[in-house]
């Protein structure tokens, strides 16, 4: 057998492999948490608060206990101190207010849907029936629903300590100098509406306490973090807790959480002596899965007359909701590093105030802080271009970091390792047909076409691959950002890979197999990837922040390198050669210059297993662990161009074309990368056009179902044209960058910029998201009323002055011809 015959395809990295995971997913052989059945399994259902804010004066569960089939029923007091307080792992400032957050409320409820009691029954129908037999008395308290007025002295309080959780300030450069006498000042207030992540799999939990052991199956993104947090929250010794994330049906951040139901499932199982299951209904989930976004963003930009940015001043109000959950306060702060985007500037200020309301807490949702920042920045870049009468691509190019300037230390304190904004933009421009569309836009404007054409641009970057542990520490985050992997060489030559990065749709089993096949030269099919069970995968930091490949994948790569190093030593012994003379390529170890001499890594695995002839002092194992802690974040970037047709008579927006050129560095599997981009685009476009979580003025969520909360269907989304440029990351050995959130981060401003671009001749400068036909139509109607037939250019400085500030975002939009 020659080395050539042994050689696997050299293109394993970068190969469009259909996924290993699919075999069970397309045939229904899946293992969702809700599928789990155990002997004696009981079902939990929760009584939830119908009030946004109320004092609990009485809970009586005795009626439920009389319902046949009901085994137990509990109120919050039944759990006492043992239920602890749900954790917030990111105290962003030293004086942050982190209110107690019992998994089941005992004294006060602070959002509609907060659990106040539960019923445990033999089946899910009985548990649901018995809910109505639980009596709860409330003394309603005033809700707090608008964070723009929540900090007023006269506002009711969500918590005794008041409605402010924290204020975070970061400044670099001479801001006053940048704004003083600036020829161009733009000031805008943008609204980041509240979103519901809406993973297709509802949350589901199975808890089982037997003796000392506690096992929790959960539809979670974070089995490892959850295990630590359950131990800290409940006092159950960590070594007695096993967390299993079986097949998990999407997360998008919503399953990056330590939930009340997870904690309570373990405690209830302990109390009733049976395994217990809880699976939310979608309506229950919309109320009680953490929400995303929800910010008021005031952004001020100072520029020179030629469009060069001098300074940027950002002031955010971020709605925390009723409590701080796992990373609630950290989410808006990730934006602190991203409001400057790909641009150079002299000075930058970021302020964020976290404010409590009587709504479901917010937390990570795809992009987590970076979409919000990118939206405001890319929107205001278009405003700058309009102010100066420049092409919005030109104004971006004037300010962006040139490809020869990398690595580049940004005004917000990050160092971007690599990028090429020119290349991505040039490619996107070509694919889009930018000049032809601009010409068509002019024709439609000239002919007063009722359907106007708009072109939206988003030249984004983002920080992902969370994260260098030291940086997280400096930001007061409660954990590190490393990831762990093990590579086990089995006697028969097959390979087991254990990853701490737990997938829920991302395709780790396939991508990790490709990394291992490429590195070790073993067949792709011979690699098995294990994850998602803390007894199988004992260490991990889990999956969020587009970190899996750039941290977890690199850990796998690192473990492979250690396997090779160990194998070389044994190979040298068997070949009676010096270890320094052993080369490894295409899966073979051989003496340098004599590829016929050696053996495969699988043969070394078998020889190691037999251990009959190992060098002295060498343990009989070439299995290896690696833990990778990145030295920097990952900075994917790209240029997205969106063309919308806006019917000025109906307000209907149609995306005519969408081009996304992303640079995610080296690509392991282009099928998976394209899929991530497509899905990301869908969610970002959905924020622009469709989705909004709406609370009424009593604090009831009115979008509790998929009939009310508009997730786009296939008929609502366009075909995407995607392409890539490739600037390898310089901070990891594979040159890879994160891709999971890029599409979501980039696309929202591209769409809204396109809509505003279509309507700018009417004097419209903003439309509040989601840009529904009604809002677009009202904006057009208002603009025509205020200036019939006029080409209002929108003097942002004069218009903006009276209307900026957190109190008047809607009014600002209206004054600009926008509408809620």
């Amino acid at each position: 057998m020659t080395a050539d015959m042994q050689a696997p395809p050299v293109t394993e990295l970068g190969r469009a492999r259909p996924r290993k995971e699919d075999a069970r997913l397309v045939t229904g052989k899946t293992n969702w948490t809700d599928n789990i059945v155990l002997p004696g399994l009981l079902h939990i259902n929760f009584v939830r608060s119908p009030y946004a804010h109320a004092r609990i004066t009485r809970v009586d569960v005795s009626g439920a206990l009389k319902v046949p089939g009901v085994v137990a029923a509990f109120s919050g007091d039944d759990f006492g101190a043992e239920q602890g307080s749900l954790p917030c792992a990111w105290p962003v400032t030293p004086d942050i207010v982190i209110p107690a957050h019992p998994p089941m409320a005992t004294e006060e409820v602070r959002y509609v849907g907060e659990a106040v009691a539960c019923v445990v029954a033999r089946d899910r129908y009985t548990a649901a029936d018995a809910l109505s037999a639980v009596e709860v008395d409330y003394e309603p308290l005033p809700p707090v629903l608008d964070i723009r007025t929540a900090l007023d002295e006269s506002s009711p309080r969500v918590h005794e300590a008041g409605n402010k959780s924290f204020e975070f300030l970061m400044q670099n450069g001479d801001l006053d100098g940048a704004f003083r006498d600036a020829p161009v000042l733009i000031e805008r207030t943008y609204r980041q509406q509240r979103l519901i992540p809406s993973a297709m799999e509802p949350r589901s939990v199975v808890g089982w306490n037997e003796g000392d052991e506690y096992t929790l199956w959960s539809a979670t993104q974070i089995p490892h973090v959850l295990r630590v947090m359950l131990a800290l929250t409940t006092g159950i010794p960590e070594q007695n807790i096993r967390v299993i994330a079986p097949d998990v049906g999407g997360g998008f951040g919503s399953k990056l959480q330590v939930t009340a139901e997870e904690v309570l499932a373990l405690l209830i199982s302990h109390k009733v002596g049976h395994p217990v299951k809880w699976t939310e209904s979608r309506s229950e989930g919309n109320l009680t899965v953490h929400h995303g976004r929800d910010q008021w963003q005031r952004i001020k930009l100072a520029a020179d007359a030629d469009g060069r940015i001098r300074g940027l001043d950002v002031d955010l109000l971020a709605d925390m909701g009723a409590y701080l959950m796992l990373v609630t306060p950290g989410v808006p702060l990730l934006g602190a590093f991203m409001f400057n985007g790909i641009y150079k500037m002299d000075a930058y200020s970021f302020k964020c105030t976290g404010v409590f309301s009587t709504k479901m807490p917010t937390d990570a949702y795809r992009g987590a802080g970076r979409p919000e920042a990118t939206f405001a920045l890319e929107r205001v870049m278009d405003e700058l271009a309009a102010e100066l009468g420049m092409d919005p691509l030109q104004v971006r190019e004037r300010n962006w970091i040139k490809h020869e300037e990398f690595p580049y230390a940004t005004i917000s304190g990050l160092t971007y390792d690599s990028g090429n904004y020119e290349a991505a933009t040039a490619r996107a421009r070509d694919l889009f047909g930018y000049d032809a569309l601009r010409a068509e836009q002019q024709r439609r404007r000239d002919s007063n076409d009722p359907v106007q054409l708009g072109i939206g641009i988003s030249t984004y970057t983002e920080m992902c691959g969370l994260a260098p542990s030291r940086v997280l520490g400096s930001l007061s985050y409660g954990a590190g950002g490393w990831e762990h992997a093990s590579v086990r060489m089995l006697p028969t030559g097959k390979v087991e890979v254990v990853t701490g990065s737990s997938a829920h749709g991302q395709g780790h089993e396939t991508a990790w197999s490709q990394i291992v096949a490429d590195k070790l030269g073993v067949p792709f099919e011979d690699v098995r990837v294990l994850h998602g069970d803390t007894q199988v995968s004992p260490k991990g930091m889990d999956t969020y922040g587009s970190r899996s490949l750039t941290v977890g994948g690199i850990a796998v790569h690192g473990a492979c390198e250690k396997v090779i190093t160990k194998a070389k030593r044994i190979s040298a012994h068997l070949l009676e050669a010096s270890e320094d003379d052993i080369e490894f390529s295409h899966g073979r170890l051989h003496v340098r210059g004599d590829p016929e001499s050696g053996h495969t890594i699988q043969e070394i695995a078998l020889a190691t297993f037999a251990a009959h002839n190992l060098p002295d002092g060498v343990e009989p194992s070439i299995d290896s662990d690696a833990t990778f802690d990145p030295e920097n974040f990952s900075y994917p970037h790209g240029t997205h161009l969106c063309a919308t047709e806006v019917d000025t008579e109906t307000g209907q927006v149609t995306i005519r074309s969408y081009v996304a050129v992303d640079d995610v560095g080296k690509v392991v599997n282009p099928l998976i990368v394209d899929g991530q981009v497509h899905g990301g685009l869908a969610q970002g476009i959905a924020q622009a056009l469709y989705e909004e979580a709406i609370y009424d003025d009593e604090g009831n969520l009115t979008t509790t179902t998929m009939a009310d909360y508009l997730l786009p269907s296939a008929a609502d989304l366009p075909h995407f044209t995607t392409d890539r440029t490739e600037t390898p990351a310089t901070t990891n050995p594979l040159g890879v960058k994160g891709v999971g959130e890029a599409g979501t981060i980039a696309s929202t401003p591209a769409v809204v910029n396109a809509i505003v671009d279509a309507l700018r001749p009417l004097g419209i400068q903003d439309i509040t998201m989601p840009c529904t036909p009604e809002r677009v139509w009202r904006a057009i109607a208002a603009a025509r009323r205020s200036a019939p037939g006029a080409q209002v250019t929108g003097d942002s400085q004069t218009v903006a002055h009276g209307t900026v500030g957190h109190v008047s975002g809607d009014d600002a939009a209206a004054a600009h011809g926008g509408a809620e």
């Binding site: 259909p18 996924r19 995971e21 699919d22 075999a23 069970r24 997913l25 397309v26 045939t27 229904g28 052989k29 899946t30 969702w32 809700d34 599928n35 059945v37 089946d123 899910r124 129908y125 809406s198 993973a199 297709m200 799999e201 509802p202 097949d247 998990v248 049906g249 999407g250 998008f252 209904s281 979608r282 309506s283 829920h504 749709g505 991302q506 395709g507 099928l671 998976i672 394209d674 899929g675 991530q676 497509h678 899905g679 990301g680 685009l681 869908a682 969610q683 179902t705 998929m706 009939a707 997730l711 269907s713 296939a714 008929a715 989304l717 075909h719 995407f720 044209t721 995607t722 599409g743």
Partner: protein, 156 residues
């Protein structure tokens, strides 16, 4: 309790069920047919789509008693010795990520192709409007249905 007789994925079952029992819960919890998941409670998402007497239905919106005498095919019964062309196409085109919507999406797509064997992209998008996917942005689902229909899948 009401006695029903149903044939599910080729096997006949006779069961006493509560009249209020949803077909999807009957499939999942009585028959262990957990390949069909539940994604919502308002029949919007389509994750629970199965075929009842050859037509796609959302099994969260059908009572088990309504299926009495009927023949049901779930995702678990779709393959016939080898994967159904849609199962192959979803795999080849990377038309799934988390896979939670996939059983319903494939069952709905099968019904769509029964009615319209050569759909255009637009017809596929309209035809699958009742099935939501949060991961894929639908682009590869459209390609997969085109592939399964035998229509040429154009390069991206």
């Amino acid at each position: 309790m009401t006695k029903i007789t149903v044939k599910v994925d080729g096997v006949t079952y006779v069961d006493d069920v509560e009249p209020r029992l949803l077909l999807v819960h009957y499939l999942r919890e009585r028959l262990g047919k957990t390949g069909t998941p539940v994604g919502c409670d308002t029949s919007n998402c389509g994750a629970c789509t199965v075929h009842l007497n050859g037509m796609s239905v959302k099994s969260c919106s059908v009572l088990a008693v309504q299926a009495d005498g009927g023949e049901i095919t779930t995702i678990e019964g779709l393959a016939n010795g080898e994967w159904h062309p849609l199962q192959k196409a979803f795999h080849t085109e990377h038309a799934l990520q988390c896979g939670y919507c996939t059983p319903g999406m494939i069952m709905a797509a099968a019904d769509l192709l029964r009615e319209n064997p050569n759909p255009t992209d637009e017809e596929i998008r309209d035809g699958l409007e009742g099935n939501l996917c949060r991961c894929t942005g639908y682009q590869n689902i459209v390609r997969a249905v085109r592939r399964a229909s035998g229509t040429e899948v154009t390069a991206q």
